[in-house]
Amino acid sequence: MKKIEAIIKPFKLEEVKDALADLGIEGMTVSEVKGFGRQKGHTEIYRGSEYTVDFLPKIKIEVVLGDALVEGALAAIVKAAKTGKIGDGKVFVSPVEEAIRIRTDETGEKAV
């Protein structure tokens, strides 16, 4: 089992979700995050004083899935989330030791 963490631009969420659904992957967790990589922030002004906003809003999608589906999922995510402009985000893959479905106590790949 692997966990895919994808940090994407917020308005791309629907597209990525649909792309994963097309592959049969329907479980995921989404959080609103802030961050930056090489994308610089921007300057704002409030009541006459300027300040820089370095942290930009992003969406983080976490999906845990069986090894067989990982390659396809990665390709789908990257294709759906790409705009070609700076700040598109990143995807990380990490191994998962255990997974449990709370309702049924199933474990392992049956739980994801």
Binding site: I45, Y46, R47, G48, S49, E50, Y51
Partner: protein
């Protein structure tokens, strides 16, 4: 930085030109025939009524009079409605201040605003009303008077003539009951104190602030009010402050300045290298709602200050008030756009209030055109003032000192420049406004300074970082949202 300085200089040039233009415009304004008649007639009616006693001594007699009774009823009704409008302004202040402060301090801001309504109404009933309108009971020249505790109506007296004469202040030519007179003025009293709550927000300790606000509204506000509206020394001098640019807003604004000087700025606002770190308000929608509510309430604040439902005077006041507020928005918004390349919403909101404060001294005695100019200049002044106060490290989260203090003075002086009544002089206006705001400032320095020595007026650094809602109230404003405290 250099570009900005030259832009500020450019703005100062516009301001100077506008003030210079004001004189010929004011001259044109004085030629306006219909409005001069309004001023003359109003003065004549009031003078006449003050000379003669009213032709009724009991409620039954008044109810018989086919013209005077309906007039009494309509005047009285309008003042009650206006009092409700002014009450709404507290909702406006609450939402505006909440919106411009951080979410972690919202409960504290709301508590201060709620308490001030209570303290204002109760102290005004107990002592404020009689301090402000001593009638003939002056104690120290025309500087201090006191008409006794309570609002002057003893329900145990049953003789109908006495009851009636106490219930209607017909003795000074007002067609309304004493209750109405009281409640309208009581609503004003609390608005002066609530101005301070915005300036000291996010770091003031709750209890000393409540004590200070109570003393300000119970003692300072009615005393300065008595100088003018209570027929004190400023009234004798010919000072004009229609609805309180100085007596309400100037008092609040300069009390706020004194408190902010004693209190100090918020942590992290002014960095050691001299730069200013903006502390963002948590809800622009709340702030905007607040300003719209205040604008709405101002129609009662100014409209009711006519003290009757006189259709000409009240409708003129509605028009000048609305136009000045509108011009204030434009003045602030476009100044922000020119100087900082973007129109700042919070500054534009301040601009609306600045225009309204600016017209408050002379809403019944200037032409609509003059109202626009007064409002526009107020909008520019408030923008410059907010920026300058920040530059000299005076931290005012909502701009209360600029909107109410600085523009309160402008509004008062504007009467001297723009009024179509030749009796209004700039020098008189200047003396009046300076003496009142100086009193408020010194009073506040002493009282708030004393509170600082006795119990401290500022929360600890730890509490300020965590948020006053937890520290002072043990509550959160948005428990479901779990907002992230920035700093």
């Amino acid at each position: 930085m250099l570009k900005r300085t030259s832009k500020l200089a450019f703005l100062a040039a516009i301001l100077a030109t506008a003030a210079w233009l004001a004189n010929p415009v004011a001259a044109i304004a004085q030629d306006a025939p219909s409005t001069t008649i309004v001023a003359e007639e109003t003065t004549a009616v009031v003078a006449e009524a003050a000379e003669e006693p009213p032709p009724y001594t009991t409620a039954e007699q008044l109810a018989e009079m086919p013209i005077l009774y309906p007039k009494f009823m309509i005047d009285n009704l309008w003042i009650l409605i206006a009092a409700s409008f002014v009450f709404m302004m507290h909702l406006g202040f609450s939402t505006l201040e909440s919106g411009l402060c951080r979410s972690k301090n919202t409960v504290n801001v709301l508590t201060k605003n709620l308490f001030i309504v209570a303290a204002g109404l109760l102290t005004y009933a107990a002592v404020g009303f009689s301090l402000m309108y001593p009638g003939d009971s002056w104690i120290a020249g025309k500087f201090l008077g006191f008409g006794g505790f309570g609002i002057g109506y003893d329900p145990t007296v049953t003789d109908p003539e006495t009851v009636f004469n106490k219930l209607t202040p017909a003795g000074y030519a007002l067609d309304m009951t004493t209750w109405t007179d009281f409640i309208f003025q009581a609503m004003f009293a609390a608005t002066a104190a609530t101005i301070v709550s915005g300036a000291v927000a996010e770091r003031v300790k709750l209890l000393p602030f409540l004590i200070f606000a109570t003393l300000l509204v119970a003692i300072a506000y009615p005393i300065t009010g008595s100088w003018q509206w209570g027929a004190g020394w400023l009234y004798d001098m010919g000072f004009k402050d229609f609805a309180g640019s100085t007596l309400v807003h100037g008092v609040g604004g300069f009390a706020a300045l004194a408190c902010v000087l004693v209190l100090g700025p918020r942590l992290g606002k002014y960095l050691p290298d001299g730069s200013i770190r903006p502390i963002l308000g948590h809800s622009m929608p709340l702030a905007a709602i607040g300003v719209f509510l205040l604008f709405f309430g101002w129609f009662g604040f100014n409209g009711g200050s006519v003290l009757s439902a006189d259709p000409v005077a009240v409708s003129l006041v509605f028009v000048t008030t609305a136009l000045a507020g509108a011009a204030g928005i434009i003045g602030a918004m476009f100044t922000s756009w020119i100087i900082f390349k973007k129109p700042d919403l919070s500054m534009s909101l301040n601009g609306a209030l600045a225009g309204l404060v600016g017209i408050t001294a002379g809403a019944d005695t200037v032409t609509p055109t003059s109202a626009v100019i007064i409002g526009a200049i107020a909008g520019i002044i408030v923008f410059v003032s907010v920026v300058l106060f920040d530059r000299i490290k005076i931290d005012d989260p909502v701009g209360a000192i600029s909107v109410h203090g600085v523009c309160g003075i402008w509004g008062t002086l504007a009467v001297g420049f723009f009024s179509f009544d030749p009796e209004h002089k700039v020098m008189t206006q200047l003396i009046g406004t300076v003496s009142v705001v100086a009193f408020a400032f010194i009073f506040s320095l002493i009282v708030f300074g004393a509170l600082k020595l006795i119990m401290g007026v500022r929360v600890s650094a730890e509490e300020e970082n965590e948020g006053l809602d937890i520290g002072e109230h043990g509550q959160e404003a948005y428990p479901d949202f779990q907002p992230v405290a920035e700093s």
